[in-house]
């Protein structure tokens, strides 16, 4: 028993409540998934391959980009570059959870991170800012989002006609609005606002002048630099929560 070296205690009840908390957003993810399933079969992917892709990759934006490059032949390196660039935000998201992930065993740590996606990460990251350690949302939220993505893809593959134009219903904005509300719900002091200003400017500059899909990482690192040089007075009050 190595309880002392990995102090994080998973609460099964909290996993369930976090799963339910992510259920509303998961319904929208079903609609997204359906849009992907439809787009993929229209590009000539077989239903099985489309479902396999959603199940294994679980990374919507990069899947859409990949099938845009689909044809009789697919260029391997460009597809890898695009998928890496779009998903490179996972690198930073995973890193930002490390202060919590170090408290679970490596097997659980790397198992959990397989379920990392924007929505459950945003909740965990914002909770952490408020001193709450919430890896349960990565597990519970990740599972429900993953299933929603697969079910949605399946619906789109077989009943795509129902989801012809999700954009007209504003469905493409669900994730953006969700992430924005998470950011605005967090701490807002001068230090954070300066970081956000720099992040916004850097992401826009990268979006305009740097290669495609680099803007998230560029903006996030620019914001992080503000934190690196400008420390908060009390470093962290998360410590007592962890105890």
């Amino acid at each position: 028993m190595k309880k002392s070296s990995y102090p994080y205690q998973f609460q099964p009840a909290k996993v369930r409540s976090e799963l339910l908390r992510m259920l509303p957003i998961s319904l929208f993810v079903v609609a997204f998934g359906a849009a992907f399933g439809l787009a993929a079969v229209q590009k000539g992917l077989a239903p099985f391959d489309t479902l396999l892709m959603s199940t294994l990759m679980f990374a919507g934006a990069s899947q859409f980009a990949a099938i845009e490059m689909w044809g009789a032949e697919v260029p391997v390196i460009p597809v890898m570059v695009v998928v890496f660039a779009i998903n490179s935000r996972h690198l930073l998201m995973g890193a930002s959870l490390y202060p919590m992930l170090k408290d679970v065993s490596p097997a659980k740590r790397y198992g959990l991170i397989l379920l990392l996606t924007d929505a459950n990460w945003a909740v965990a990251a914002q909770d952490y800012q408020s001193g709450r350690h919430n890896l349960e949302v990565i597990l519970g939220g990740g599972l429900v989002l993953w299933l929603a993505w697969i079910i949605g893809t399946w619906l789109g593959v077989y009943f795509g006609g129902l989801f012809q134009n999700p954009k007209s219903l504003g469905m493409d904005m669900v994730l953006g609005c969700f992430l924005l509300s998470m950011a605005l719900g967090g701490k807002k002091n001068l230090r954070v606002l300066v970081a956000w200003g720099l992040a916004a400017a850097a992401s826009l500059a990268a979006w305009k002048w740097l290669p495609a899909n680099t803007h998230v990482v560029a903006g996030a690192l620019a914001g992080g630099v503000v934190g690196f040089f400008w420390l908060e007075k009390q470093p962290t009050d998360a410590q007592e929560e962890a105890a």
Binding site: G44, G94, Q129, F228
Partner: protein
Amino acid sequence: MTIETTTAGVLALIVIMTLVTLVTRLGGVFAMSFVRISPRVESFINTMASSVLIAIVVPMAFAGDAGALAALSVTTVVMLALKKPLPAISAGILAAALVRYLV
């Protein structure tokens, strides 16, 4: 180098893309296991985390149509007023649908 989209080719492509995605999910955590979490690193991580959200959303507003802009603006206003995500998100989506219906 290209891969033909035969049965085996498609499977190979899916495996390759899955591996690339896995590297992004595991890589950040793995790299951090070599870093000592000093208060400075902690501060970097925390400001970076909320900056990820800003860096996703701001270019989305600039690249998007009037509906996208309406969705994000309305979400901002409702979120700052009510401090509750669900009404803010719903209002934002509704705003996008409405603007796109009208324009």
